[in-house]
């Protein structure tokens, strides 16, 4: 067993863990933060994406002991309960960027880092940027729109209209 301290969404947590415990299990089972999902469990789908010291990682392929002394951000940290939605959450809501919602936490955490590095991404850059996140409802178009919306909002610009376009 190893003693570790991990700061999760700003709160330090200490735990005694087996070295083989995965970061995603620490988050979900020890800390009860079940917003982070386990999809493929093979670092393919990105549902378990969290930020480790600000960088998006697949927490099913990181050991909890590797996070010792580091900070982790999960989807629960995007906004406090009752507070105004984070621009990404608002973007996903306004653009119907989720259908079943399973991939959404991972998509939003990945998009958080993407927009931090590239505040004004093109649609192509967003598609490459979320290439490690799978949506099996295939709602990619609306997910891309949601991230474009959040980017505009974060830059203080007027986001594109979310009214449906009929052709």
């Amino acid at each position: 067993m190893k003693q570790i301290t991990v700061t999760v969404n700003g709160q330090p947590h200490s735990a005694e863990v087996e070295p083989r415990l995965l970061l995603v299990h620490l988050i979900r089972e020890n800390l009860n933060l079940t917003g982070t999902h386990i999809g493929c469990d093979t670092s393919s789908c990105g549902a378990c994406t969290v930020l480790l010291d600000g960088k998006s990682v697949k927490s099913c392929t990181v050991l909890a002991v590797q996070a010792n002394g580091k900070s982790v951000s999960t989807v629960e940290g995007l906004c406090a309960p009752g507070a105004a939605l984070n621009p990404l959450q608002e973007g996903f809501k306004e653009n119907h960027g989720l259908h079943c919602g399973f991939c959404t936490p991972g998509m939003m955490m990945r998009a958080t880092e993407l927009l931090e590095h590239n505040p004004d991404p093109t649609e192509d850059e967003i598609r490459w940027g979320i290439s490690g996140n799978l949506c099996r409802c295939t709602g990619y178009n609306n997910i891309v729109k949601a991230i474009l919306y959040a980017g505009a909002k974060m830059r203080g610009e007027e986001p594109a209209s979310t009214e449906p376009q009929f052709v």
Binding site: S43, S131, G132
Partner: protein
Amino acid sequence: MIAADFNYEAPTSLDEAFTLLRKYGDEAKILSGGHSLIPMMKLRFASPECIIDINNIPGLSDITREGDIMKIGALVREAQVEHAAELLEHFPIFADVTKLIADPQVRNMGTVGGNLAHGDAANDHPAVMMALRASVVIAGADGTRVVPIDEFFFGFYSTAIQPDEILTEIQIPMPSPYTGSAYHKLERKVGDYATAGVAVQLTIDANGICTYAGIGLTNVNPLPMRAARSEEALVGKKITDETIAEAARYASDDCNPSADLRGDVEYKRAMVGVLTKRMIHKAAQRAVA
């Protein structure tokens, strides 16, 4: 999926790591990015007794130029390579290859050193390092040795690194002026291994004669492969459609792909030929640009 139980050690110096390697021998595995090792442990393809996490060892995370050598530390992440201005200026091949390795999250963790040390011909950096004629620095308690990339790969998951040693650095010779490099792999989807991949570096002199050619192939041979006859077909000649076609034909003939879900042998040979042509073109364009 949960890995079999193991001891976890996180040394803060190479000497400490060497002591641990001496203690555990074959039963220890080095953890850098972990994105090849941890999946294998979860699938129970690997059950090391001890994991030695080298991420807390300082001095292994830099890309630096020292005279005629570009040095990539063992813990340099793929994502770091994507933004390494000086490296990309001299070796545009790294902009090509990193974009095609797995996905952004995996590139935040995965390391260039690990990509080589894993000893898998399906990985992308082995072919790139062959094209660039890189060397690998391997350190142990008894000292450090520099191994040329052509002498680094021994077999599937087997490299020149001995059980008591650690890959600490990759050294790439700085290219002459008018050198260009390029990489592409054909992949079915993001994150898949290459159906085939080709890395090329060329130097072209003022008379249009090719004075250096390095060509490495990904996932079409049991070991990472240098397309030696293709290189010979270019050096000392003008890069024309004819010489390119000859080099591509040799690469296609000399590789030894195996049939799998990504394609049969004939298809893979054909793709090696197509990619070799395209990457020679691209590297040549970059060389004179």
